[in-house]
Each structure stands twice: as structure tokens, then as C-alpha cells.
Amino acid sequence: MSQISHFKQIYDMFANLNIDHIDMKSEEGNYSFSFGNDQNEKNKTLIPVPNICSASESIQLEDPLVITEKYIDIKSPGVGIFERANPKTKEYYIKLRDTVKKNQVVGHVSILGILYDVISPVSGKIIEILIENEQPIEYGQPIMRLESNND
């Protein structure tokens, strides 16, 4: 956590300067920062998001295009009741901040008693769970929000 808050400080320092991109090396690995609205840089943007999972903070990022690429909603495949738990183990498939792989089952929608899988469209980290267990949902309704790994 302390390292992340360091990055946040560094990010804040450079964010207001006329700099597009910084690559950093440290003992733990490589980090990349992007700033501003440069179209060419957009796809490469890789900000280790300040303070991992608070969606409200994430949404404050200025560039909406970065948000749409980076934060992806897992949507309901149908009308029914959202089931977070594995029916056999009774345990929740996913907890907040879990990382998931592309096509991983994160829950079910019970449509007339039949369970349909809810699948993560990309790999990433679950940063928000929008629907409580066993709540009714409609087709296309966002169930969870994840932060994509960009892979």
C-alpha cells in the first residue's frame, strides 16, 4: 500500500505538467504512466490505479476513453435472479478484489430455475459488485465491474 501511495504522489506531481508519458524502473518491476488526452498514447495507458478498488475514485479519472477501456462491466445474460454462489459448494464464486480470467464463471442467472453462467468477458480484477446475491436482474444489466488487465 505504501508503494501505491508513492506512485499516487508521483502521478500527481507529473499530472499537471506538460508530459505525456513516463516509464519507470524499480526493483519490483516496470511501471508506466500516461497523462492527458494524447490519442496515440491511449491504447498503451497503464496507470496502476490509485487505491486499487474504489470505483468512485476510479471514475474521477479525467479521460473517459481510458475508463471505457479499462473498466468493463460484466452484464447479465438474461432476465432472472442473480446467484453469486456455486450451487454445489454454496460459496460465492467471486469476492471483491478477486482477479478473474477471461471466460471465468463469476455467478449465475437463474431463469425459471435453470442456472445460466455469468462469464467475465476479459481478465482483470473485480472492483465493484453491483448486484446483491439473489436479487432480480434484467437482460444486459451490469452485475460486476472489473478493471481489465488489458491483455
Binding site: G78, V79, G80, I111, L112, P136, Y139, G140, Q141
Partner: protein, 454 residues
């Protein structure tokens, strides 16, 4: 008796709006279901609850049985009104509703099945004394065919027993033609349907389309609400409907209604429906066509001349209540006419023109009813039928209703980039001498010339 507190409407467009309005006036809550292509449709805004049930294509949304039943379950709807089209005449859907303890607002699955089968419906109605088009069983020899021709006269029509949708039909005008065409029709039927069975029916050359509205409760009461004339059609699609029919006198009207009630009582029908007939104006004879086991697009015409709210009555019947009126209470007063306004270009073979509406203005004044789901800024989606508004005019006489309709059509505005409507077509029909005379048949549009500059 069940009190219905919440109804799910398994439909879209103007009919969904129509049903929501009836439910609201009865103090019943409504659940709208919609596809992703209909998120902005008026029915989603008027209903108490709205649920997205699938993507735009109807087979994944409005024709998706689990999605609709599931939506009813999660919203706590006790009944489903199917409207027209989609599941309205689907016995399987009605059956599934029953299994899930949801009231299907319509007749029982058994009745839908029986009347949906054309040959069974014909047979049942004939047994009940409803006049049907004379016809033969499967023809085995030319002699049999000629005997029938002698009795009923030409023209006749040869139909394939296993055919459908107008395929394999031939109209025959003489003995010599019959001799020549019968073997060809048989071998064609064999090739196309793997069944050489053909039969012959009397062909109605120039009929009117006249239908009787009826409604029946679960206590054995059946009442007819007299006729509608729907002869103005294009490729079997009704464009203009009116009541009363200009072709019938009050004696014929009464007879037709009584015949309809007799047939409907026989099958144990519960709900609203329509019995369709072809009417031969020269012979003054009716021939049964089919029963539509749903509320129809043109039901509002009957509502205007009888003062009965058919959709409210459907809901009462579904609750197990008795009809709120008797046959003797039903009087036809004045005249009503409906024009179906489609987003189609009448000058380009009625090509659909979806798009976003800039301006919409619906006129008012006495005797006007407009049922529609469109509004300024609404986008007409390309996925569904192109009906955008049903415009109705009511008058003391047919003449007043027609003049009123012309007035409405001149006032109405439905505009948007690339959007054309059938309003110019209706404007011209209202002024057409043949139409105004009331002496027309289903062949009317074969002779009607649409003028370009209107």
C-alpha cells in the same frame, strides 16, 4: 375469481401502450418488457415497472418464452396480456403460462389449437351451422371435380392438401381448363409437398372482408359486437377498417352476429376474438374464413361504435368475472373508421422507412382517437413492423367520419429525416369516389392509382 393486481404486457408498440392505459384505468399495475432495440419506446415509460428481456431481434426478446415468464416471476405479475402478434395465438405459450400459475389473457391453449388448425376450425364451424366456402374432399377423378363444378359453377380454386401460404393454388374458369389443370396441380403438389392430394373450393372472385367481433366469459356468456369491414387490404394486410360495413343491412348484421355466437359457444371460447368472413355482395352470402383468437389491431373501431372497452373487458374475463353487458345492451351507434399509419413510402412500393422523428403532432377535436407509441425525438427501430399510429375518426354518419378522417390526416405531422408515412395514401383513398360510395371489395387496391403529387 382472482383479482389481478399486476399485468405484464408481452408486446411492444401501440398495443402495449393501449393495454397499459386500460390497466391504469382499472387501477392495475403494469410491467412492460422490452428489447434493447426498444429502450426508448413509450410503453417502457408508461408502465410501473420495465424490464429489458433481450437483444433487439424478436426471437431473442419478444419471442423468448423463458425471458418473458421469468420477467413475470421476478416482477410478481399475475397475468400476461399478449396483445396481437408475437405469442397472442400461441397455444404453447398459453400452456406454459398455465404451468407457471400465470393467467394468460386469452382463450385456453386447447381452443387456440383447435381454431388455429384451419381444417379443424372449418369442420367445427360448419357443424355449428356457420356457412363455409363449398369445397370437396381430396379429388380422385376428373368426374368428381366436374360434378362439383356443375353444382357450384366457376370460378373454382384447386388447393393442395399439404400446401400453405398460397402455394400450389390455381384458379379455374372452365371445364376444359379443369381437365387440363387438375393433373398438373396433382403432380405439382406431389413435387412440392410430397403429397398429390388436392381439393377444390368455390373461388370468391371479388369478396369483401367482413369480420365479427365477439367476446365470451367463463360463465358461458357469448356476445357479438357486430361487424367491421376490412376490405381495403394490400397483399392481405389490412390498411383501413370501418364499422358498420357499408354493404350490410341490419337484418344481415343480426344474422351474421348470431351465427358467430353459435359457432363460438360450440368451442367453449373464453376471451375476445374475431370471426372472419368473406362476403359475396352479388350472392349476398357469407363464407367463414377463420377465427382470430386475440385482440386485433382494429378493435378500436368496434370500441368507438359500441362504447365497449374491449381490453378492460378482456381483463375482467381473465379475473373470472361475468361480462358487464348482455347482447341486448349492444347497439351500434354512428360510424367509425381507422387508418393504419405505417412508416412506409407509399410511392416506393410501401418500403419501410425507419429513422428518428423530428416532429410529431397528433390532432384533436371531436370524434378523434389516435393510438400510438411514437413521440417527437423517438427513433422508429428497423426490427419490427412499421405501424406507427392508428388514427380513428368517429361520426354520426359514414360521411361525417370520412370527412373527419380527411381533416385529421391533413393536420397530423409525423416527420423525420428519411421517414415517409402512408398518410398521403390514406388522404387519397378518403377522396376516392369508389371508396366514398362504399361499393368496394378486397380488390380495391388493384384499381386504385396513387397520384404522385399530393
Amino acid at each position: 375469481m382472482t383479482n389481478i393486481n399486476r399485468i405484464l404486457i408481452a408486446n411492444r408498440g401501440e398495443i402495449a401502450v393501449r393495454i397499459i392505459r386500460a390497466a391504469k384505468e382499472l387501477g392495475i399495475e403494469t410491467v412492460a418488457v422490452y428489447s434493447e432495440g426498444d429502450a426508448d419506446s413509450l410503453h417502457t415509460k408508461l408502465a410501473d415497472i420495465d424490464i429489458c428481456i433481450g437483444p433487439a431481434n424478436a426471437s431473442s426478446s419478444y419471442l423468448n418464452i423463458p425471458a418473458i415468464i421469468s420477467a413475470a416471476e421476478i416482477s410478481g405479475a399475475q397475468a400476461i396480456h399478449p396483445g396481437y402478434g408475437f405469442f397472442s395465438e400461441n397455444a404453447r405459450f398459453a400452456e406454459i403460462c398455465k404451468k407457471h400459475h400465470i393467467i394468460f389473457i386469452g382463450p385456453s391453449p386447447e381452443v387456440i389449437d383447435l381454431l388455429g388448425n384451419k381444417t379443424m376450425a372449418r369442420k367445427t364451424m360448419s357443424e355449428a351451422g356457420v356457412p363455409i366456402t363449398p369445397g370437396t374432399d381430396v379429388i380422385h377423378s376428373i368426374k368428381e371435380a366436374k360434378t362439383f363444378a356443375q353444382e357450384f359453377g366457376y370460378p373454382l380454386i384447386i388447393k393442395a392438401r399439404s400446401g400453405g401460404g398460397g402455394k400450389g393454388m390455381r384458379v379455374i374458369w372452365s371445364d376444359s381448363e379443369l381437365e387440363k389443370q387438375l393433373p398438373i396441380a396433382q403432380s405439382e403438389a406431389k413435387i412440392n409437398f410430397d403429397d398429390d392430394g388436392v381439393y377444390i373450393e368455390k373461388f370468391h372472385e371479388n369478396p369483401r372482408h367482413i369480420e365479427v367481433q365477439f367476446i365470451a366469459d367463463s360463465h358461458g356468456n357469448v356476445v357479438h359486437l357486430m361487424e367491421r369491414d376490412c376490405s381495403i387490404q394490400r397483399r392481405h394486410q389490412k390498411l383501413i377498417e370501418e364499422a358498420p360495413s357499408p354493404a350490410l343491412n341490419s337484418k344481415q348484421r343480426k344474422q351474421l352476429g348470431e351465427v358467430c355466437v353459435k359457432g363460438i359457444k360450440k368451442v367453449g371460447y373464453v376471451g375476445a376474438g374475431t370471426m372472419e368472413f368473406l362476403y359475396d355482395d352479388t350472392l349476398k352470402k357469407f363464407y367463414f374464413m377463420e377465427v382470430n383468437t386475440r385482440i386485433q389491431v382494429e378493435h378500436c373501431v368496434t370500441e368507438l361504435v359500441t362504447g365497449i372497452d374491449l381490453v378492460k373487458e378482456q381483463i375482467h374475463i381473465a379475473e373470472g368475472k361475468s361480462l358487464s353487458f348482455k347482447q341486448s345492451d349492444i347497439k351500434m351507434k354512428g360510424a367509425a373508421i381507422e387508418c393504419r399509419i405505417n412508416a412506409e413510402n407509399p410511392f416506393m412500393d410501401f418500403l419501410p422507412t425507419p429513422g428518428t422523428l423530428g416532429q410529431v403532432h397528433f390532432p384533436g377535436g371531436p370524434g378523434v382517437r389516435i393510438d400510438s407509441h411514437i413521440y417527437t425525438g423517438y427513433t422508429i427501430p428497423p426490427y419490427y413492423d412499421s405501424l406507427v399510429a392508428k388514427v380513428l375518426a368517429y361520426g354520426d354518419t359514414r360521411d361525417e367520419a370520412l370527412k373527419r378522417m380527411s381533416r385529421i390526416l391533413d393536420e397530423i405531422i409525423i416527420e423525420g429525416k428519411g421517414i415517409q408515412t402512408t398518410i398521403p395514401f390514406h388522404q387519397q383513398v378518403m377522396k376516392d369516389a369508389t371508396f366514398r360510395s362504399g361499393k368496394f371489395t378486397t380488390k380495391f387496391l388493384d384499381h386504385f392509382q396513387l397520384k404522385q403529387n399530393n
